[in-house]
Amino acid sequence: MKRKLILLSLFLIALLFVSGCWNRRELNDLAITVGMGIDKSGENYRVSTQVVIPSQVAGKKGGIQTPVTMYKETGESLLEAIRKMTTASPRKIYASHLRVLVLGESLAREGIGDALDLLSRDQELRTDFFIVIAKKTTAEKTLKILTQLEKIPSVNMFASLETSEKSWAPTTTITLDQLIAELLSEGKHPVLTGIQVIGSQEIGETSENLDQIDPSAKVKYSGLAVFKKDKLIGWLNEEESKAYTYINDEIKSTVGVITCPEGGKLSLEMMHSKTTVKGSVTGNQPTINIGIRAQMNIAEVQCSVDLTKTETIAELEKLSNQKLEGFIEASIKKVQRKYKVDIFGFGDIIHRTHPKAWKKLKKDWDQNFTKMPVTVKVDSRIRHLGAVSSSLLKDMEKKE
């Protein structure tokens, strides 16, 4: 018994050493990649990775060098390019903490499907990073711009997209699994947020960019990219992007500006919005009814209206309804006419509500989409007037 125990424990101890510590990697053996850019270079992929230099970000010394470094390599496949990077990098690229994946516009126009395979297949990647499109530039260039408030540019991009989605609306956060789901869906084409480099690319790449109060170069989100399956076919402007987020019920908070009855502007802060999209099929004609219930506060008054009267509020609500309905309908019309792809997911709604009709409709759904009547009904409610009741302008008039 005792001998057996001793033997067993000897084996166990030996096991500890023969295991070779299979996946063991020390923290200082990792090239922590927070941003990855994919561009097309001829037939090959050009992959650029933004790797954090930890001591520059969190170390005691910090701040002498740039906080990140970049490795880029061209290869027939993504993995080939990434592995090739070790010829320049002392550490293996470690992509679990990827925050942003930037796809170059030229790659996006040719199709992003192939590029996504590795990213979804590899077990090292988490699927919680955001995917954006470098608008009018390459992914590599976008990743090269140094940022100030968040030292790591990719983290900056990640946080900026997250906050702008929450409080401004015309951007949308899409993670890898969502994108793949949309690519596979028959009733919806994907949409990705675009990112632009504003200002001087040359200065933006050097630490000179960090020494200025108003940096020479910035990265900025602007508009949504419209895809037909996995190919980029065009861009939505800010208002259309906002309409997209309204229809997809992704509005958390935003600002709407309306014109007062007697001229002047009035800003409404969206506090809460709920969109319900209903589909119906009569004969072979699908229709979509969009209902939006919005609760808002009066945020800014630059005209003379008497906010103490309920009639005024009712009128403002009506104006807000018209405004919202107007631009949402216009945006849908534009997409129907210009891009002819269903980015709003109306097909999915018909699929869900009328599965039988969908079987016939899905064959040429995009065709059906362009001809489909869509009605928008907005029900705005103004809840709060803010800390003052009437505007300063009105008070001044009274005094005179």
């Binding site: 020390e26 923290l27 922590i32 930890p54 903490h97």
Partner: protein, 528 residues
Amino acid sequence: MNNKQSSQPLQQNKQSSDPHNSALHSSLQDNIQQVKKMLGNSSDIIIREIEIGSTELIRAGIFYTDGLTDTPSIQNFIKESLLCDIHANLDQSISSEQNVLGLLKNRFLGVGEIQDVTDINSLLSSLLSGDVVLLLDGCTQGFAIGMRGGKDRGVMESTTESVIRGPKEGFTENMRTNAALIRRKIKDSRLWMETKSIGRVTHTDVAVMYIKGIVNDKILEEVHTRLDRIDIDGILESGYIEELIQDETYTPFPTVYYSERPDVIAAELLEGKVAIIVDGTPNVLIVPALFISFTHAAEDYYQRADISSLIRIIRYISMFVALLAPSLYIAVTTFHQEMLPTQLLIGLAAQREGVPFPAFIEALMMEVAFEVLREASLRMPKAIAQAISIVGTLVIGTAAVEAGVVSAVMVIVVSITAISSFVLPAFPMSMSFRMLRFPMMGLAASFGLFGIILGVIALVLHLCSLRSFGVPYMSPLAPFIKADNKDTIIRVPWWGMFSRPRLINQKNIVREQNNAPSPEAPQNNSGG
């Protein structure tokens, strides 16, 4: 030294005990010679010859060990009982030796504890335990008079189990004092005590204490069997007994509980456990021991129930921290970096830049350094303790990090682990956890979280397989006994704990009346 001295008399004792095993000589001189011979003429054995009676003198010998007896009372006793009063009365009745002895015992010896001594061995054992032995010339019988005394440490505040609220007294090295301390808590006729002498050379008094009617008789019997089985030359500390009677030797966990506090022992006795008091040890053993007892502090029962429960939960958390913190750190930083938030990962990576060792070696170094420091501060003379601890903190805390040998986070992890391990109220259990930390670190370094989970599973299996005097070690958690869980992870208020642990005492379970008074506002009494 001590052992050498005491082993000589033993051999003499053995050699001489065969021919002289039996009765005392009738001649006092012979007896004195015999005792002197057997004790190697040791200078601390005082033999005083006196004569008692006035007309017919009887020679009497008084034997005692200097230092073990209460010297003033011996002097009093000789002066008052033997030299003065006796004279007048004794003469009349001296006819036979029986008479003298009876008379002395019944009328003249003004002391409480008297035992008859008839053979030389019991004479010696009484003498060496601190009794005064009185022999008369011409009698083959004498008395052992209980006058134990001598220098004692006295009851002092418990140093190893301190509390904020609750009694401060702690046990001493004297078994009698210890028993008295317990009896002061439980003044009941059912508190019984049985004394044994264990150790062929040391003849250490070992007392088994229990409350008759509450104790589980099977467990009591088992305790007696195991104690009687002990055959060893010396018992110098209760640890000897613990190791000789515990159920399982090859386990990191203690299966015998001990405490320095009379209130803790009293509480355990009330739960039906058996206390073993060993003379010369301020730590009283308690069996059966449950895992859960080691995580409970005396104060838990004196503080309000809600506070105690919260503190217990904190204690359990720190138990896991003490066991797993370094291994979790190793596993997460070397296998599962994706589990960390990005900012934290970058922060950790920045600290590890330039550290030449893998995290496992780093952790091992720091843990060993800490254990060395702990052991050193325990062993070294108290006067230089402070100097060493300053050096230790500076070297380990600051210099090692600045020199880039270890990362700062590792110092934090090791410190948290160390502090957490001291949260456990029972020292033996915190030792177990400290020891188990090292294999856990090894598992974490080779298999990551998978290894840690395997280790924990193995540990739980092992814990569940343990028994202490027949009682499952993990009870009442495994097997789960609902009623007993009122006092495990949390503690319900006293009015909610009606019952004693089910598995320990099967007969007498009710601790309180069933309709225990849950505190309610008095209904009739308005105002006042």
